[in-house]
Amino acid sequence: MIVPWGETRLVQGNEAVALGAIAAGIGFFAGYPITPSTEIAELLARYMPLKDKKWIQMEDEIASISALIGARLAGSKSMTATSGPGFSLMQEGIGYACMTEVPLVLVNVMRAGPSTGLPTQAAQGDVMQSRWGTHGDHPVIVLAPSNVMECFELTVRAFNLSEIFRNPVILMPDEIIGHMRERITFPLREDVHVEKIPVPDVPVEWYEHYHESASYVSPMAIFGSGYRFHVTGLTHDKQGFPTRKENEVIAKMERLKYKITRRLSELEDVRMHGMEDSRVVIFAYGSVYRSALAAQAILRKRKKRVGVFRPVTLWPFPDRTVKENLDSKEVVLVPELNQGQMIHEVERMTADAVRVVPLHRVDGYEITPEEIVNAVMEVV
């Protein structure tokens, strides 16, 4: 038994990701060594052969994500783990997976950049890359855990969402979350829900690889199952064959978009604390959310009513919920381990009357509760 079901253990964030992948039924892992994500690959190299699952270290990150797509098309749920520089190399494959609607899970343990940057230190500099990194319009789903338990739970959720939406899902712990150790209690096996795309049951000649079902996400045949289909990164028709016909191109592009936007409520995941009575809100995600909660406790003791708003699903951005909850506030403080990325989304969704205040830290260290407290005291 690899996942210690129902037991309480001291676990590292990256380790929890690896165990979450096992819990979600990973069948294939391909990766390339990169700090600070390497523990995920190392642990899976140890676990996966014990279950006859396939694990491989490829020659680079481009090869890794390419192999994932091949493996999923042949029937194995697949995942890779990387960090900033590798994430940039994987953008090519992310676009291909979006276009060909192949599920996969990509874990990007965020370190400070640009370029090699600070390889062992934390940042949240890849937030916009995770949204717009690959070329062309494309749908993305990105989740950001804030503790070790969530590393486990959100890895399972990432696999499930990738299967439900036939789309790559990116899990983005920052280095602090990936390397922190916490005591967690694993769920019981029967309490973990695992999704897999249904395989088609129509006669072979009726099969459409990109069938427009009511959910916009069709069953997916796999190679070797008797449904012989074509997969291409060229814009394609329902069967998967290249097309330049206007109506078919538009139908494809719109389905890519609507399969996500029509089910936003299933994807949205936000946490709000003390929002009702506060005129000041701290908007934070990832490791910074922890500091935000600690800062809120300090401020409450000083009789300062401050709320905390956290998106767990970073993309698609929770537009409506942000508007509903932040538009009436006086100040929204957005502390981030970058020079200001998510803050633009907050500004976009709030009225001009709301003061949206940044707090940046880019030296690879965490934003402390005290820094947030000081920033709040300055603005109120």
Binding site: G27, F28, A30, P49, L50, D52, K54, I56, M58, E59, D60, I62, A63, S64, S66, A67, L68, I69, G70, A71, R72, L73, A74, G75, S76, S78, E92, G93, Y96, F223, G224, S225, G226, R228, F229, H230, V231, T232, G233, L234, Q239, F241, P242
Partner: protein, 280 residues
């Protein structure tokens, strides 16, 4: 005059996807015909065949055949194919690539696929240039040759694909041409049968781009060049000692029996499980 045999239609998406994109006089269709005849001779079930490709003229091949077909990103066909083969080792995986796809942008992937010895058959159609983008030089453009990006002649040396693949660890390495089609059929048959990474380089004309830029004539003249500028291994052996040749050699250069990556991975799983059992 080559003819399409009736059974070959069974392998083609004949009604759906034709006419094809290749220029008159292109050699890629001949390679496709050879692949189909070899697959037919092996009696492989179409459901069990996966043809992977990257980007380029050769990489358009998969859309025309009724296998499981995967047209990927530039240079990555072997990486995608590695995932397919590992996820389901029962599938027969082949990768079709052009020279630029396989050796420039895909150079890293092909040497590591060979080193790993994953059970994939790699077919490289070498027409000495990037045809699809208008005839730029590739890693196999001969020194001195003109292309759209070497207007004053190619100054870089070119790869010897077969030596490169032998050095990287491929278990089967061969070279053929689209002129010597019966020979190519036999080479491909052996390559498909081989357990391990097999590479077949197929020399092919590109009259539209390379031929035109280098004044090599039309399709017929370029076919004659393939006939006259190559010799097979027995012709090479028959040469006197010390006699030099500037001809390109055709034939099977490497054919060795080494456990494939797939077999070694299976063993690894068994060993890991035994070790875990013993540690209990």
């Amino acid at each position: 005059m080559p003819t399409v045999l009736p059974y070959e239609y069974k392998y083609l998406r004949a009604k759906k996807r034709f006419p094809h994109v290749w220029c008159p006089g292109c050699g890629i269709g001949i390679v496709l015909g050879s692949i189909i005849r070899s697959v037919h001779a092996l009696q492989w079930d179409l459901d069990d065949i996966v043809m992977v490709s990257g980007i380029g003229c050769t990489s358009r091949m998969p859309v025309y055949v009724d296998f499981n077909t995967l047209h990927t990103t530039h240079g990555r066909s072997l990486a995608f194919g590695t995932g397919v083969k590992m996820a389901n080792p029962d599938l027969n995986v082949m990768a079709v690539m052009g020279d630029g796809d396989a050796l420039a942008i895909g150079g890293n992937h092909i040497i590591h696929a060979a080193r790993r010895n994953i059970d994939i058959t790699a077919i490289i159609v070498n027409n000495n240039n990037y045809g699809m983008t208008g005839g730029q030089f590739s890693p196999t453009t001969p020194a001195g040759a003109r292309t759209s990006t070497t207007p004053y002649g190619m100054i870089e040396p070119s790869f010897d694909v077969c030596k490169l693949m032998e050095g990287a660890g491929a278990t089967f390495v061969a070279r053929g041409t689209v002129y010597h089609v019966t020979e190519l059929d036999n080479i491909l048959l052996k390559a498909f049968r081989k357990n391990g990474f097999s590479v077949v380089e197929v020399l092919a004309p590109c009259p539209t781009n390379f031929g035109r830029a280098n004044r090599q004539g039309g399709p017929v003249e370029m076919m004659k060049l393939l006939k006259n500028n190559t010799i097979n291994l027995s012709q090479l052996k028959a040469m006197k000692e010390g006699e030099a040749t500037d001809k390109i050699v055709r034939g099977i250069f490497v054919d060795r029996d080494v456990p494939s990556y797939d077999e070694r991975y299976r063993e690894l799983c068994e060993q890991a499980k035994k070790a875990a059992e013993a540690a209990k």
